[in-house]
Symmetry: C2
Subunit: 722 residues, 2 copies
């Protein structure tokens, strides 16, 4: 039995009353939720706990949707590229799509709303040169140019919600469970329905304390292929918010008309890696205005019923943009999201304008992890240790779990561990909530998205690993639990307002031409000269991967002069590269105890000048370097997958870039597996062992005095500041 209680949410289910009570006691839970696939029986709802009920606004209401099939959610899709081998080209535009997910929209005139594009010339084919065969779902182009490629951008209706489809297929729900039809909140009948239904529902569900919206109206883009497997997933994607009425409303509101191409974007669909166009930013703005206004209407009803409204950060979250300018308007009470590690925890815990945040921790109580012979504790430990670092900086207000509680119950070791975690969480929360942790310096992450996508850089599908992103995701993960303040600024911010005054170090991390590195944004003289001046006058800059990269004016890195390195594209092979020697000693490498790991690394980086301090050089390439530029410094790192050592390496890079080396060991642990977090206002500090082994470390206080401490695996020790 837990000695403390609260801040913990449990899932429960039918026929599980006694065990639910037992686990509530042991984990100190004060709230109970249903999950996708479970329902809470009345006996559970009657327990002494807040009751969360999952609520779907725009799906799970087939009784409505079936009556208004013309109000189903639309998407604007692009066909495959099709090669014309003669002057007539027939395009099976649905080829590759899942016919159980989408049907073409013939309600709106294709000639008006679709676009046929010659992708070889990137020109639009006049409507008179193509026809639609609605019976066989073909677009037939005449006067096609031989061996040019053509695509069709076309509207569809979604006839199966993406998440419902995923759960349905994954869990083999079979033919008996009808497919959830997603409908569009923008459509007249649906808009009335969703409001009226909620009003009635609130009356019908007095035992519910918290309406857990999953979520509002527009699902992130999730498209399945002809085999029913995922074809396209963009957790940030606005694809499933686009409809003919939306484009009409856009034109009326924004004063100009979007082209289908503004949405399909050559098939890249404006993913977060694309440098956003003005048109797409306008569309996001337009959608946010609509979503937040309509969500507010629902949330107001919840409040009127005396209940709380919580949104799930996922599924139909598109257009809410919790870090955007419109989110506050919704008036939501809480946000809950899935915690994959430190960065995703901060993504939740930093959300402004809510009363509280809640993290859903891993593993989910599902059979893929909870099966005989497996130890789900291993994932739980890893998840907790990563998230705990971030909690030390900015806690979520609650933690919780999802899935089948009955499954978890069968794993006593797991139940024991979560008992420890929930107590530990409550102690941390009590010690630090509302108290600003000690911060060594202020870091701003600079990219095309800025604040809008705080803690959300380089993500494709929520918290999933991709070869192309892990070397950058490590930056956020390292920062999430580090003693630095982190903000997110956009190139536009810098052009408008310069670099915020309190920033010590700017980080620009990403592959060339992505929104995270910036690509053509760096062609703007205002941007590049502002950043140069800022560094030159004493600012710190840390570039990772291909920072400021766009071939222009004789550089690839537009900050090559500041960084002291550039990337060889082949054009300057004729120029001799003499600077290849590593410096013997360097502040940045003082705590390197394992092999360097730059992840995917970066090819063909070379030092452009003798003053460049090459800290790591291997295989004919600079991997890590620093350069003094006026009174400032710029550090280059080839890549930074998350690890304890790389966290330390990044921290040292930041402190070095900021010329704050002497402050690095304030509230510091010498062992890279340990970290110290100090809370000066409350007179406490914590020593963390982030590893699953016993660790001994020197612990430095705020005056740089040290003492040796040994910590158990994963231990956190609280101390009073003298």
């Amino acid at each position: 039995m837990s000695t403390t209680r609260g801040r913990v949410t449990l899932p429960s289910e039918e026929n599980f009353l006694e065990e639910t009570k037992e686990l509530m006691d042991r984990w100190g839970a004060d709230a109970i939720r249903d999950s996708n696939g479970t329902k809470l029986p009345d006996e559970i709802k009657a327990l002494d706990a807040k009751i969360y009920t999952t609520y779907f606004v725009a799906r799970n209401h087939n009784e409505h949707a079936e009556k208004h099939m013309d109000e189903l959610q639309q998407l604007l899709l692009m066909s495959k590229h099709n090669l014309a081998t003669s002057s007539t080209l027939k395009i099976d535009f649905m080829d590759g799509y899942y016919k159980e997910q989408f049907i073409p929209d013939y309600n709106h005139d294709p000639k008006e709303w679709w676009e046929v594009i010659n992708r070889t010339t990137e020109t639009v084919i006049p409507a008179e040169d193509w026809e639609v065969d609605q019976e066989s779902n073909l677009v037939i182009i005449k006067n096609a140019k031989e061996f040019h490629e053509y695509t069709v951008s076309f509207f569809v209706y979604a006839i199966w919600d993406g998440t419902h489809m995923y759960n349905h297929i994954t869990n083999n729900w079979g033919d008996d469970v009808p497919h959830d039809l997603p409908f569009d909140a923008r459509m007249p009948n649906s808009n009335i329905y969703m409001n009226e239904y909620l009003e009635q529902w609130l009356k019908d569900n007095p035992q519910t304390d918290v309406i857990r919206f999953t979520t509002f109206f527009y699902h992130f883009t999730l498209i399945f292929n002809n085999l029913g497997k995922e074809k396209f997933v963009d957790w940030f994607g606005y694809g499933a918010s686009v409809s003919v009425p939306a484009l009409e409303a856009f034109e009326e509101e924004m004063g100009y008309k979007l082209r289908p191409e503004d949405i399909v974007d050559k098939g890249y669909y404006n993913t977060a890696f694309r440098i956003p166009t003005k048109e797409f930013l306008d569309y996001m703005e337009f959608t946010q205005r609509f979503v937040t206004a309509e969500a507010k209407r629902l949330v107001d009803k919840v409040h009127d019923a005396g209940k709380e409204a919580m949104m799930f950060l996922g599924d139909n979250w598109i257009g809410t943009e919790p870090y955007g300018d419109h989110f506050e308007k919704i008036g939501i009470d809480a946000v809950v999201g899935s915690v994959g590690g430190g960065a995703t925890l901060r993504m939740i815990s930093e959300i402004p304008h809510v009363k509280y945040t809640e993290g859903r921790f891993l593993p989910y109580f599902f059979p893929d992890e909870f099966y005989e012979g497996n130890d789900p504790t291993i994932e739980a430990v890893d998840n907790w240790l990563k998230a705990r670092r971030a909690i030390m900086r900015k806690p979520v207000d609650r933690i919780g779990y999802g899935g089948y509680l009955s499954l978890a119950y069968k794993f006593p070791k797991f139940v024991d561990y979560i008992e420890k975690v929930t107590d530990e969480f409550r102690l941390i929360y009590d010690n630090i909530n509302g108290v600003k942790p000690y911060t060594g310096l202020k870091v701003a992450i600079l990219n095309s998205w800025g604040k809008l996508r705080s803690w959300q850089t380089h993500m494709v599908a929520h918290a999933l690993w991709y070869k192309q992103i892990y070397s950058y995701l490590g930056v956020l993960e390292a920062l999430s639990g580090a003693s630095v303040d982190v903000s997110f600024i956009s190139f536009e911010d810098v052009k408008q307002d310069g670099v915020p005054e309190d920033v010590d170090v700017i980080i620009n991390a990403g592959d060339a031409d992505t929104a995270f590195s910036g690509g053509h944004e760096w062609l703007d003289p205002q941007l590049v000269s502002t950043i140069r001046k800022w560094i030159y006058n004493g600012g710190g800059f840390v570039g990772i991967g291909e920072p400021s990269a766009v071939e222009h004016g004789g550089h690839f890195f537009q900050l090559a002069d500041a960084l002291g390195v550039d990337k060889e594209l082949g054009f300057s092979l004729s120029t001799d590269k003499y600077f290849v020697d590593e410096v013997d000693k360097h502040f940045i490498k003082e705590e390197v105890v394992e092999d360097y790991d730059f992840g995917e690394g970066m090819k063909n980086i070379y030092a452009t000048k003798e003053s460049t301090e090459i800290i790591r050089y291997s295989n004919g390439e600079v991997n890590l370097s620093s350069n003094d530029y006026g009174k400032g410094r710029a550090v280059y790192i080839a890549g930074l997958p998350y690890s304890q050592q790389n966290t330390r390496l990044l921290m040292r890079s930041l402190f070095y870039a900021a010329h704050k080396e002497e402050e690095f060991t304030k509230w510091h642990a010498s062992n890279i597996n340990c970290e110290v977090h100090a809370y000066l206002e409350s007179g406490k500090y914590a020593i963390l062992n982030n590893s699953t082994k016993e660790q001994t470390t020197l612990v430095y206080d705020g005056n740089g005095k040290s003492r040796e401490v040994t910590l158990e695996p994963g231990q956190i020790i609280w101390e009073e500041i003298d």
Copy 2:
């Protein structure tokens, strides 16, 4: 003593008469040459051998040059990038250059001929906004924009020939040896001088049979830094042909004026890796016209004197372009060049419009290789085995050596080996010269340069290794000794005339945006549709590295559809990549006996469709694949450094792409270290062991019948065709 004689050129020197005679006998030499730093005494010139005498046209005549310092060769250089930290910026434009090599040209008005550029905006600064301080060699810019970068493009005179400088510094010739002043054949006094001097020289040197021009007028670009070390080297560079009079003549002849920027090209100086601009191609054309016309005048004089004219393919070869349209006009008798391996041998042996070609083999008889304790035979064996493959396809007519013969004489094992080589060469030559070798298929290498730079792709400094090129140079090296015909075609050729009818396979190999891959050339719909159509109708395509790469229309590889692979730039991470399984068996990998070696390889290549045959997949990337496209095929290879296995892998890729798998084992050796070359017209075939170990192989005849043969290290066996 050699049993055969001829086709071999020896260097000789003073006080070495008897040994020269001995080595002439042993190596069967019939020609003797001087070298840089050696002179032939009369007693040697009297031997029964052709006498080559090195002749410098545009340097080594300080008696003339010192009188006409305003006729020294000019260059147009670019300063470093200079950061403006206030509105006044002083640029020390000579910073980083070697003051013993260049002096600024103040004879021509800098305001008219120089260019000051804001590299942040890529705009030219008006002449009224900058001044030159000639005393301190500064350009002073006023109204500079803060934290923009500026460069100065400025004319200099060269006061030391680059090759002379290199030899001078390397060999410590000391202060007593005056620096060779390079002068410009375009200048009036120099033009008269070089013609008159040659006339007199021809009269004064009756014993010389062959004038070995080293070479004509313009040295490849070779620039030294402030420490007297190489700063910039481009073996193809036209930098040292540019002068104010040249630009004036260009305007008159071509009808428009070049800007300095057309030459300095942001500091990349139009290296061969840059996709050539129209302006630079025009400048090359203009220079070729001048060089070939003036060279013809000299060569005519040589012929009038009853002697032969030979040019050295190097040093001042710029503007001759042996594969260009103007070379024939010179009327040169022979070309001699340094042989670094098979590709450089073919670069020499394929030169048209000459009576004979000669390869200078390695090692050069210099102390860097010929020193006590070292065995120069090792390099000689390696050089010979690589070159011999190429000789089997198209022989040079003569081989030779350079340096100090007295040094080589001290290494008896080396002397023995060269005796064997020279005999072997003569036998090969007698067996194959003028006879077309058996050829399995015809390959065209497609890039921006085409025929003009035949056998010269991906080269920076002659035959030197660079990390960025070896994975592509292997393609030429493999082809140089393979049973295929090789031609070189440009994108312009394809646009004008389509793909030549007899081509079986097109190769496009290189990094994105280089002249070898093609970059923006692939945006031309005419080009891309012609190539697509050609493949679709049965052509073969082999893409290596980043073939046809330029981000456009939703592809990075413009031939992605044909290749069945593309490169992930981050924009399509949201699209699931399902095709990752290697095929079990494949024609292309049937002779893979060692680990795959793709050299630098290529990151983030993925299969775009199920039909793609993935032959090698590692580390989340496709390294080797093939795809059927209509009746044709396209093979992708991530990189191809030279090796026996990669030669085989490339050959199989070519035959597979061409749908000629069944012809692959005609005149074939099963052991990858061996090759077979057949000469059907003369009824002979040769079996080569390209390795330094004994090898046993099956040898296939033209009907696919095989027998087993064992070869000594490096052995070549000649057989009659039944």
